[in-house]
Amino acid sequence: MPDYEPVLLRNVGVEGSTTLPVYRKRGGYRALAKALKMSPQEVTEEVKAAELRGRGGAGFPAGVKWGFLPRDRTVTYLCVNADESEPPTFSNRVLMEHDPHQLIEGTIIAAWATQARVAYIYMRVEFHEPFHILQRAIDEAYAAGLLGKNILGSGYDLQMYIHRGAGAYICGEETGLIESIEGKRGWPRIKPPFPAIEGLFRRPTVVNNVETLCNVVHILERGAQWFTSIGPAGSYGPKLFCVCGPVNRPGCYEGPMTITVRDLIHGDAWGRGMIDDRGVKAVLPGGISMGILTGDELNMKMDFADPLKYGLLGLGTAAAVVVNEDTDIRVVLRNITRFFAHESCGQCTQCREGTSWSYKIARRIAAGRGRPEDLDILAETAGNLGMMPGLSICGLSDGAAFPIRTLVQKFRGELEGYIRANCGVRMAQPVSE
């Protein structure tokens, strides 16, 4: 895609990009200075006008979320969701490893808009390098008067702390994240009340994704109109896309939400095609939670609306893993069901038992001992997990349901073939289970 000038990734590859002096020399913290001269309401209106939709997977408009905070509140918290556990997403990691100050600046601006007194960055513990890089950047920011008391002489105080997770996907769910910061098991809360009313320590709280907050910097610097000039209606702004699997150039790239899955896999600015020119059997384009596409569905546009036409839950994290024609689809099914069985928090009956049962069935199918009724049970269990809204407390069950249902539906022929043959060829079992 010619002539696209990276915005979010503009500092990646620049020597010293993780340090304050280099970030400042390349224009950093100008947006913050501008935001602090505006009122919190004005900043929120600008973000609302940009129609910035959350980049964490749900796509909820950030400005609208900030507007839910009660007017008479006294204490507000801002939580940054750096838990990034959705396979195969790694865009937040890239942002934090290469441009930590962009996130810090975006967080301070968002905290100013929401009048938060503390910003907690909830980072998964497996991000070791990002943690060290970001914490040192935060230390730099404190030393330079960009954090702490009286930021840039504005009178606004903000503390920013990194709170490291401990290995739980469910802590990427906003109330699971809040519970984890409070020192408990990451069981999502029943809603209502919503975090904007009663969140962290029962105070009004906003939870935003890393990429969303990085966008806030640029919206403030260049304006909402610039933001809405990028991408189609309903999917404005620059977006990070991840592509991985057996492609020639796996990585995190930036562009407007006009590209298709085919572009992402084959485009020169993107994955640059399949290794050894193997054919594409399947793609999971939104993180595994959104569902699966066949090799004939690569025209899907990577925006917030098109995935629904292909039976997917949504755009998700816009991270695509490609499965080539040499990969047994049963491996994919087993891997996905195992993930959700491990990560289900266990609070709701459907999710707890449904994900575990799905995994047992998928494991058995992959071992060559599938039964004809297994596929129907898998499809039905996916329905009971979360196809019907309201069945569970959080969206993990929806995220488990969609890949199972779409995989069984779209690859039914191949799966039935294995079951019918019952060829007894033992799949290479993952040795850990």
């Binding site: 029943i190 990560e343 266990g346 609070q347 709701c348 994900t355 575990s356 009971n384 309201g390």
Partner: protein, 540 residues
């Protein structure tokens, strides 16, 4: 009082409750596990989901929302429209039940909960007879989690009621959830077992047979048990209990819903402190000491024996030489009958309120809570009816003494005849006490266990246990609570109510309501009986 509509029926309900509670109160059978009115709401079991009408996002008209909503987390408001009788709701119940049964062991033949198990009941209503899972069940271990309780984790449905109980009601925090997902288990920190005065309640609230009472384990099948409504005599709180018995043997006590007194709970002292009921050392027959010999007179001869001897004392020495000590273990009716008999015979007889044993400290729960946050109290006064007896004694007027004063005066020889009621499950007669009272010539002692007083008494009559009696107790707050009898007294014994009724001059079978009616004519306060309301039929 908000008005809501459930399944097309208008229901008027209390404000501030959930739709689930309103439906249960109005008689609906809505399956649920994790909801309990005395605990916080988690909405995790997903059985109680209902359909609700909400404004359509585009048109604004009220329509059935495609989203199922847990009825346990939706508060009632005027005009709410919900339904449980729909294919969506029933479908969810069926499928959720299938999920519960996936890894559940087929333990019914050996499980204590059989007969009162919600998993069994719901399976009968809407379950499948065959499991569709062809894979191995996930097995979790059985645990000994406390001196009185077992946890068979493989039966657990993870409703988390027990964990919330130890966090919110007892405040002792022993129980927790460990692991994640389908591998979750309820557990305690090793070396810090489930051991607090309210721990038995977790067995009651467990909807399946995961938490088990060691005392009741394998003892009796619940469908053979008969239930009677009773009041625990352990302390002056006056918790309402169910006595579960079979063939006149008590097997267990369970709490009975009693809002404002004990709500849904009882303490372990009351729950397990009834074993004395079946103690073989109990006094069951009247004993008469006559001229150096000990006889066992027939029951029908007792009224004559008592009347003759007492009248002799009254005629010879005057009514003032007679005293009656009324124990706080007696019911109001029994005490009233005794007072009527004694004062009828000797109008100047001295009435004494018997000793109310004070033991240990007052325990409030949750631990550390004060004031309105206290949910349960175990009181120091270990008897059920001191206030009732005091009320009756003071109403009767005339000569009255405290128990200590009575003992001093008895030691000084002030009395020639005394009727003393004991009936305490624990030892209450010391050597010094017996020496003071033994000076009384004609000693009629009603008690449960032999002691120095019964050894010195002229006539010994048995006191029956609370499980064998009926009547009312007045608790610490002045609430008059009725209770029924559960079992027959031991062979040879006759209920106190019966022989006191006869002594007081009435014929026929002892009828506590009739006695209460007569009592209420004199003292309306004692006629204001407050039985505990029944819990909704399908609530647990």
């Amino acid at each position: 009082m908000p008005r809501i509509e459930i399944d097309g029926v208008q229901v008027e309900c209390r404000g501030g409750i959930t739709v689930l509670q309103a439906a249960l109160d109005a008689g609906w059978s809505v399956p649920h596990y994790c909801y309990h009115p005395g605990l916080s709401i988690t909405a995790g079991c997903r059985l109680c989901l209902m359909e609700m009408q909400l404004p359509h996002p585009k048109t604004g008209t009220m329509d059935w929302s495609p989203k199922l909503v847990p009825s346990c987390q939706t508060m009632v408001r005027d005009g709410l429209v919900a339904r449980f009788a729909s294919e969506k709701v029933r479908g969810n119940q069926r499928r959720t039940l299938e999920f519960f049964l996936l890894n559940h062991p087929l333990d019914c033949p050996v499980c204590d909960q059989a007969g009162e198990c919600l998993l069994q009941d719901y399976s009968l209503e809407f379950g499948e007879p065959v499991s569709r899972m062809h894979d191995a069940k996930h097995k979790t271990p059985k645990k000994d989690i406390g001196p009185r309780t077992l946890l068979y984790t493989d039966r657990c449905v993870l409703c988390t009621r027990c964990v919330r109980f130890t966090r919110e009601v007892s405040g002792t925090n022993e129980l927790c959830i460990t692991n994640r997902g389908s591998r979750e288990e309820i557990d305690v920190f090793p070396g810090r077992p489930l051991d607090n005065l309210l721990q038995g309640n977790v067995v009651d609230i467990c909807p399946v047979g995961a938490l088990l009472d060691k005392d009741f384990l394998f003892k009796q099948r619940v469908w053979r048990l008969m239930r009677a409504k009773s009041i625990c005599p352990g302390c002056s709180t006056g918790c309402a209990v169910w006595i579960d018995s079979n063939e006149d043997i008590v097997y267990r006590l369970k709490p009975r819903y009693n809002p404002g007194v004990n709500d849904w709970w009882i303490c372990d002292d009351g729950r397990f402190g009834w074993k004395y009921v079946h103690d073989p050392k109990r006094i069951v027959r009247p004993l008469l000491r006559r001229g150096g010999a000990v006889e066992t007179p027939a029951w029908d001869s007792i009224p004559e024996i008592v009347n003759v001897r007492l009248r002799a004392i009254v005629d010879a020495q005057g009514a003032g030489r007679v005293a009656a000590v009324l124990s706080p273990m007696m019911t109001c009716e029994e005490a009233w009958l005794l007072i009527r008999f004694i004062r009828g015979l000797a109008p100047e007889a001295t009435l004494v309120s018997g000793p109310a044993p004070l033991e240990g400290e007052m325990h409030t729960f949750p631990v550390g809570a004060i004031g309105a946050n206290v949910k349960f109290t175990v009181r120091r006064e270990k008897c059920p009816n001191r206030r009732g007896v005091d009320t009756l004694v003071s109403h009767a007027g005339g000569p009255a003494l405290s128990f200590d004063a009575f003992c001093e005066q008895a030691a000084a020889g002030a009395f020639s005849a005394a009727w003393i009621v004991g009936g305490y499950p624990k030892t209450w007669v010391t050597k010094e006490l017996a020496e003071k009272i033994a000076k009384i010539g004609l000693l009629i002692v009603q008690d449960m266990f032999p002691n120095a007083l019964t050894d010195a008494a002229t006539l010994v009559l048995p006191v029956c246990a609370f499980a064998e009696r009926e009547g009312t107790f007045m608790n610490y707050a002045g609430r008059v609570q009725p209770f029924d009898r559960a079992i027959a007294p031991p062979d040879g014994a006759r209920r106190d109510g019966q022989y006191l009724y006869e002594l007081a001059g009435f014929a026929g079978l002892y009828n506590p309501e009739r006695v209460r009616g007569m009592m209420a004519e004199e003292m309306p306060l004692l006629g204001k009986v407050e039985p505990a309301p029944a819990m909704a039929e399908h609530q647990h």
